[in-house]
Amino acid sequence: MRVSDSSWTNPRDNFESVPKSLSPDQRFAAERAFSSVLVNTVREAVGDALGRNVLEILTSKGLLDASNNSKEFDSKLRSLFGNGAAVLERIVVKDLNRKLGIPYDSDARFDYEKSLETAKEVCFVESRLK
């Protein structure tokens, strides 16, 4: 993961890491916005890497339902792809970071869960600034 070259704090708990100044409505909207970006990114990444047929099969197996739960998504992805899961996760994070303007370093140690936490932080900060 690339937290080392960004200025974002990276707390362990997703919800505690959310900026406190958001109203409940803003928080809900930001959660939905992040969820939407993430699900779309996972669809694009899997579809572009392995094709639409594979994407449809994974969708029918409920993989995308787990997109917002990084641990569950990681577990499902590993049960399907074994070591290849890490490659797909990197593709997802690379695309997600590009959309959110977060730099990505292929050489840095990779942690899918932490990468999503960072992306979520950015999404929430952007919501607060709007």
Binding site: D48, V54, G62, K76, S79, L80, V87, S106
Partner: protein, 106 residues
Amino acid sequence: MFRGEQAEMSGSEILSTLLGSEVRGDLLVLFHRNPGLIDTVDGVARRIGRTTVAVINEVRELLELGVLRQKRIGAFEVVSLDRAKDRELLESVANHLKAVRISGEK
């Protein structure tokens, strides 16, 4: 430099080869997003932000699998997506994944 050769492989083996490294994943995404792309290995490496050294063996794996093909244009060896073979391989992967069960599957 490369030869496109492939023995009969299972969907699982194809999947392992396709997702064998991050660079290979980047190459798949590049060629699937740009199916008409024809470029040298140097050019392909630049497009995914890597060095030729980092990419050359990964391209070789995809050539051997048959996803990519190589030909000479003038003084240049170029690679491109073999769309028919790619479809065939991804179909094998899809059939393999259909049979794999994951936790919480509907």
